[in-house]
């Protein structure tokens, strides 16, 4: 094998493609699509990094992973060292290596990408995290001496989990309250197995529990306990709210209550959280549809479409998007995977009604759209063409238009300020402190639906703020 150490090859060699399950095969199973790198492939790809002194990629990373430093360790063959390096800034690298939109973040800024393809930072991150999980020794990070402070985390999504990890490492007693029966947030109920195997998430959760964090499932805060009760009766010194953006939007068109119409959250929750794909071994079903149409173009839409394709009775999946391929907000890797798997893309159409017979969906009535010139933000506005009706045949419609925030908590506490859309407002954005004393917030509940890594970044930021806050309290 050639020596890969610190070669700085850049575009002298092509970007290393990761191994993937065959599209024909994978469109019928729920196993992971991308199989990642072998050690030799990882070292080869690492040798493309120029190890920039002022790395642009790091500026594109919301949590500022020391990218060239870890890539250098990969090229030297110190994979465990590389994983530890990543973990200094990112507590869930096996997750983010799989789900981050790297093409809009670190890789977008990579200088090698200026004249060719950027270094595959995401695939390298995933590789080192997986390598460490399998080969690493139980090297729990050092946990500081107990501080005697108690912190409650509401919501076990990426924001809550990363805040919890940081706080536990600083010696605080941390309890996470999660509404569902499984922790993970969108990572569990939303993102499907074939993109993020549950086993990986569980390994990460296991790590958190070994840090001493308690996770209490089946606790809907705002219902079983209010924020005040957590602080006054249960003696938590501070609370972090990371309850996400879980309220599904519907289209507000006729026919949405027909059978066969789902929000993406319902569809994905049935399959991921409730294992509907293993019905009847698991009790929760998803109806035996033949054709499924998914409305939307983001990650959620693609996840729903590719999930539908893998259900045993589904023969065809159609994705309905009002703009064109270039405007699809989903990660490009997911789009390519979906195309290879045979999802039918219907561009420039927008639903105006769902039609049905005997209470069941039979088609979607759409109008054709045209794209205008890009506006200031660079986004091309879509508008309907006159008399351009089309009917798309389907027996199920999955609506994936994004989601708003769940008002359960803010409704239960009047001191918590929210904006007009219900997002919790942060009074001090440096530490994500809310308008209520001792209460911090971060992730989708503050920003609206965003990304896993930005939620984690917010969790870390709040953890720092919470640490300073509780340490300043005199008991």
């Amino acid at each position: 094998m050639t020596d890969t150490k610190n070669q700085k090859l850049g575009n002298k060699i092509p970007r290393t493609s990761a191994l993937e399950q065959d599209p024909e095969e994978r469109s019928k199973n729920f196993q992971e699509v991308c199989l990642g790198y072998t050690p030799a492939m990882a070292q080869l790809e690492a040798s493309r990094c120029l190890l920039c002194k002022k790395p642009k990629c790091v500026l594109g990373c919301p949590v500022r992973v020391a990218i060239p430093d870890f890539i250098k360790l990969v090229s030297e063959g110190d994979f465990i060292g590389a994983a530890r390096k990543v973990k200094e800034a990112n507590s869930l690298p096996a997750v983010t290596g799989r789900v981050c939109p790297q093409e809009d973040q670190c890789e977008k800024h990579c200088v090698v990408g200026l004249k060719g393809e950027p270094v595959a930072i995401g695939k390298l991150e995933r590789f080192v995290a997986d390598y460490e999980r399998v080969h690493g020794k139980e090297a729990l990070e050092k946990v500081a001496d107990p501080t005697g402070k108690k912190i409650a985390i509401v919501g076990a999504g990426p924001a809550g989990l990363s805040a919890a990890a940081d706080l536990a490492k600083r010696g605080h007693e941390v309890v996470i309250f999660e509404a569902l029966h499984k922790p993970g947030g969108v990572l569990f109920y939303g993102i499907p197995e074939f993109r993020l195997p549950k086993e990986i998430l569980e390994a990460e959760l296991d790590y958190l529990e070994r840090l001493g964090i308690k996770i209490k499932v089946n606790y809907v805060i705002g219902k079983i306990k209010t924020l005040d009760e957590l602080m006054k009766e249960d003696n938590f010194d501070a609370v972090f709210i990371g309850t996400g953006a879980g309220l599904p939007y519907f289209l507000d068109i006729p026919g949405e209550n027909l059978n066969g119409v789902y929000s993406a959250n319902e569809f994905l929750t049935r399959v991921n959280l409730m294992h509907a794909w293993e019905f009847p071994v698991f009790d929760t079903p998803v109806h035996a549809h033949k054709i499924v149409a998914v409305v939307g173009g983001g990650n959620t839409a693609l996840d729903a479409a590719r999930t539908a394709l893998r259900l045993p009775t589904v023969e065809k999946v159609k994705l309905i998007y009002r703009r064109s391929r270039d405007e699809l907000p989903a990660r490009i890797e997911e789009v390519e995977h979906a195309e290879a798997e045979g999802i039918e893309f219907h561009y420039l159409v927008s639903p105006v009604a769902i039609k049905g017979e005997n209470g069941w969906t039979t088609s979607i009535q759409c109008v054709q759209m045209e794209l205008g010139e890009p506006d200031e933000s660079g986004r091309r506005h879509a508008h309907a063409k006159e008399d351009s009706e089309v009917f798309i045949e389907t027996d199920a419609v999955v609506i994936a238009l994004g989601s708003g925030v769940n008002p359960l908590i803010s409704k239960s506490s009047s001191e918590l300020k929210t904006d007009s859309k219900g997002h919790i407002e942060v009074a001090d954005p440096d530490v994500n402190l809310t308008s209520k004393k001792g209460v911090f917030a971060g992730g989708d509940i503050v920003t609206g639906a965003a990304t896993v890594i930005s939620a984690m970044g917010a969790g870390r930021k709040a953890a720092k703020g919470i640490h300073d806050y509780v340490m300043s309290l005199t008991k």
């Binding site: 109920y189 059978n259 929000s263």
Partner: protein
Amino acid sequence: MFKILEKDNLAPQVFRYVVEAPEIANKAEAGQFVIIRIDETGERIPITICDANRKSGTLTFFVQAVGKTSIEMSLMQVGDSILDVVGPLGNQSEIERFGTVVLVGGGFGIAAIHPIAQALSNTGNKTISILGARTKELILLENEMKNVSSEVRIATDDGSYGSKGFVTDILKEMIQNNVVIDRVISIGPLVMMKAVADLTRQYEIPTFASLNPIMIDGTGMCGACRVTVGNEMKFACVDGPEFDAHQVDFEGLLNRLGSYLPEEKESKERYLKETPAPCQLEPVSNI
């Protein structure tokens, strides 16, 4: 894990459970519900809280053994534990001094209306309860309802108890006899709640119905529980479960409740086949 402390068989296929759940019991109010999942492969089903005892830290609820999960529940014994119980969910019933409130409970819905009758009667309302069922043995909690009502009227479809006919016949007769009614609350089969709403609409009596759509999370995340109320989409788990019955699109809800009937049937048949002689259960429709 939530331990079953008591279990009784109150009527054919109707079971009452008392379950240890101190934190939920501490918060639960009339009209709220929990979502339970009995084991790792189980589904999440909503169940009305029929009593919450803060002192003993227990919840009482009723289960009618009609589907796979509820039949499985009916086989669980005192000492067994339910894997997940989450709640209290939904809004509590509006409890105020309204004057005269008529509570219409149909079959299994009587269990759910009892705590509301109790809270209303404790608040100084005159409570008149109309209880209905197919036949005498399905009239639940008659004595308990008597304790919290100034009057209890009963109707059975087959005339085996009370008057023969529907609860709406009694309600109509009361209205025609000029009984002043300030509010009606109905809980029971959808067709019954719809019939009550259609009747009281004519007389403009404020009427509320507690809806029971299919639910998954119970926190407003999935939208499975959506119902149309006054032409607006509402999520029963967070906006309800009680709604202005005159505004509810009952037909839409009935249609959606039927969306998983084939799968529910498959699941139940498979379960009954695999489980040695659970009990002699007859099919009963709960919608």
